[in-house]
Subunit: 106 residues, 3 copies
């Protein structure tokens, strides 16, 4: 899902971002459901706790994104990742993105 991975802090297989240092990070995501009438709920998780959620539940659309973004105070080695809380992505998640970067260190 990601295109840039400076410092190798994304674990590509699990799509988990592990913070290399303490600071404020900006995270945003757009998870696209395809040909799928289920409502999906996507949570942005920090160390197993949900921080923000996004929804996509339109019935008459072939592709729709569940999008949100947040500034997060992250401690060193915190893990930040997306979790599909509700629904499935059985139609695929092509075009989905998940981005995070350090805004400033603390």
């Amino acid at each position: 899902m990601d295109r840039v991975n400076i410092g190798n802090h994304f674990d590509l297989k699990a799509s988990v971002f592990q913070a290399p240092r303490r600071g404020i990070y900006s995270f945003s995501f757009h998870v696209v459901k395809v040909y799928n009438r289920q409502t999906i709920q996507v949570n942005l998780m920090q160390n197993d706790y949900p921080v923000i959620s996004a929804f996509a539940g339109d019935q008459d659309v072939t592709r729709e994104a569940a999008s949100n973004g947040v500034l997060l105070m992250v401690e060193r080695e915190d893990r930040v990742y997306l979790k599909l809380e509700r629904g499935t992505l059985m139609g695929g998640w092509k075009y989905s993105t998940f981005s995070g970067f350090l805004v400033f260190p603390l």
Copy 2:
């Protein structure tokens, strides 16, 4: 609505960001309407002037976000905030976010 407030430049009660210094700031918002068939229009305001707008007006969805984002040149002590220009959030605005950070000082 915010999770991070370094420097205490957000006024939490009014959800107004007051710029501590001159520069380019990145702002983004996702305002989620819940069980509400009204169309909402959300404006990002800078000192009482609308800068950008976002809309959510789907009829058959339980949760939908009005989202947008912008880079803004902000003078010291400018106030940046969200205004619900049209519609109501009577179903609540849970899951809504509003984020801003300094990209670089001027």
Copy 3:
């Protein structure tokens, strides 16, 4: 579509961002279709190659945004721009935004 253009690296007429230097850039866009039942697909292009896409295809909404965002490794003088891959914006693209900024130089 843009509000801020520090360094004059946006070509306003063509809405092309030309990178002044090598680095990681954050790009995001919200392209709003208005009174238009066509599905639109918007691609973020880097030097004529599509990087990410976004869709808006709802039938019963007057305004809907095709939104996405990405972190991109950009070489000096790369061009980054939006392309309407599918559909038209015959109802206008008012309220659309396209933002990009340097996250860190390389």
